[in-house]
Amino acid sequence: MQGYLWFAAKRFVQLLAVIFFGVSAMFVVTYLSPIDPVEQVLGRLSARSNLSPEAIAATRLALTEMFGTDQPVLTQYVNFWSRLLRGDLGASLMAFPTPAMELVLRALPWTLGLLLTSTAITFVVGNLAGGLAGYFQNSRLLKAFGIVTMGLQPIPYYIVAFIILIVFGYLWPVLPISGGFAMDVRPGWTLPFILSVLQHSLLPALSLVLVGLGGWFIGMRALVSNIVTEDYVTYAELAGVRRDTIVGDYVIRNALVPQVTALAMVIGGVFSGTVITEQVFNYPGMGSLLVDAVNAGDYSTVLAVCTISIAAVALAIFIVDLLHPLLDPRVRAE
């Protein structure tokens, strides 16, 4: 147990390092970007009202002081971290003066809910079906399942998403194709709202699951068809060990070790993948926010989205890392 805590502590330090370097890189990128936040805000303000040149100059001075862009880089960098640690990433430029963090925190639950649920469903269903298909190689049902998922796998995601839109929005309009919830329900922890959210998430989730299943299915089936020839499986079969124990605890359990590692990597890619999903289904998550912010040149919101994404991905990988030794006792010997 002490070994495990030591392992967890080391991984935690790694987590902090990943977040630190990732966020620092983000700072450098935005610092090098040609967009000057002061001019950006000024442009917005002066477009709506008739300001005198003196007023513009005064506002520019005030904004420069507020953003701190006249300071040396190092000071800016230190200020950036000290504000970040207090949860402040500055005002959003496109929704000035709403804090960028507030925009992100509003979008985050949508993305997390959609992605975690669909990734979990994909992982469980794909691996279970793949594992069974690898063990019961003559099952017609599993063969058919394999053909369908592997047929979907190579189709580009946006095409699958559009086909789903056409089928469920036009040919057989039974499910909402856009938005996070219906216009006529008030957000809150009420049953109509929760049902509406679930209903609206069905199609985006379905598109993610359909495209994601194939990879897990193929991977798991290949792993399992290797493992069934291992001595310990043959031996358990010779000993008349119960069939469900063999499939679950001997075959799938062993194949799960590399699959969980793969899960960590998939979670890493999940945040970028959501951009297309949210655009196609007009879903109010981080992907949509990021696209809007980039289009509007809103660098503090971009920074906020990226910071949260970096932290979330690093955290997800950290959790998977902590699970790994529990799955494979050989890792603990490290």
Partner: protein, 342 residues
């Protein structure tokens, strides 16, 4: 069946495969007849791809496509109604597995599930046949581990935390904890170094004497056979070519192939060069006609090329399948004088 616990009658088991419409047949077991007595250690020897593994697959009731039993039978008598594993239903096989018929696997890294504690593996394998659970089961296992000189703490260990010798003792423990009547041991010492080999061999021998079980012991290593087997059957190209009590086989083999196998054993102080056998074992997909050994046999005559020699008695308890059985001489004089090498 009386004295015999296993009777194999004219057993033929072939691998039948079909590649792109072309049928291929590998005659891995081609007409083996043998009997194993109660409380006997029966050694099976033969080189790689001689069909010995396929033969014990049938004995262990692990007959899976593409391996098929074409004809013949392999019948166990465990006191109740005899079970012919070539025709038994899965339920009938399940009823004898581990309770009566168990198996020791080749010693290797992967005989035990790497992500399961030894205690759980014991539960998986033995709880149902023993009809015990909980602390009664654990007590029985711990008691049995004592016989194997293993401490109860191994039950909490994972396989990778044990040494190779300990793992093999665990495997033997798994195979013997239910006190089966018949144990099939497939190269149980092959992957171990000689010191551990000796340990494992004496352990198997002791358990066998204690429990009164019969063992079919498979290995290509003749020195291991010399140590443990009561009788030895030599398999060549899917057929039993000679069968004799261990001492007889080592001192007076009656088949040229067995004579070469026995002669291959090194002896301390003996520096004479061993006669090597030319050629390779025949392909079981297209075995030669007549005696399958004739292309490599120094004693071959024309009859050997066309007629299959039957396995007939050449002495008490001694059978050989050779047209010139009476002309076979031991190749290394030392063996005939000093007897068994061990």
């Amino acid at each position: 069946m009386g004295d015999n616990i296993l009777e194999v009658e004219a057993l033929k088991a072939y691998y039948q495969m079909s590649y792109f419409g072309v049928n291929r047949e590998v005659r891995a077991v081609d007409g083996i007849t043998m009997k194993v007595k109660r409380r006997e250690v029966y050694g099976i020897a033969g080189e790689s791809s001689s069909g010995k593994t396929s033969f014990i697959k049938v004995l262990a009731a692990a007959i899976r496509p593409p391996l098929r039993v074409v004809s013949g039978s392999a019948t166990y008598d465990f006191g109740g109604p005899p079970t012919d594993v070539t025709v038994a239903t899965p339920a009938e096989i399940d009823a004898i597995r581990w309770r009566h018929l168990s198996y020791i696997m080749q010693g290797s890294m992967s005989t035990l599930n790497p992500v399961r504690r030894i205690g759980r593996i014991f539960e998986d394998f033995a709880a149902r046949p023993l009809g015990l659970s909980g602390s009664a089961f654990r007590q029985r296992v711990v008691e049995h581990l004592g016989h194997l000189k293993l401490s109860p703490t191994v039950l909490n260990a994972y396989p990778h935390e044990l040494s190779g010798g300990m793992r093999q003792r665990v495997t033997i423990g798994l195979a013997t904890v239910c006190k089966p009547d018949f144990i099939i041991a497939d190269e149980p010492t092959t992957a171990l170094d000689v010191v551990v080999q000796k340990d494992v061999l004496s352990l198997i021998k002791n358990l066998q004497t204690e429990m009164g079980a019969s063992i079919v012991f498979v290995t290509h290593d003749m020195s291991v056979h010399a140590n443990i087997a009561d009788r030895i059957g030599i398999i060549y190209a899917g057929r039993l070519v000679e069968e004799a009590p261990t001492r007889t086989l080592f001192t007076a083999p009656k088949h040229p192939y067995s004579a070469h196998l026995v002669a291959s054993l090194p002896r301390i102080g003996d520096t004479t060069q061993r006669p090597a056998l030319e050629g390779r074992p025949p392909s079981l997909a297209a075995p030669p006609a007549g005696c399958r050994f004739h292309p490599r046999c120094p004693l071959a005559i024309d009859k050997c090329k066309t007629e299959v020699p039957p396995l007939v008695a050449v002495g008490t308890d001694h059978r050989s399948a050779c047209w010139r059985a009476n002309d076979v001489e031991p190749l290394v004089p030392g063996h005939s004088r000093a007897g068994v090498a061990a």
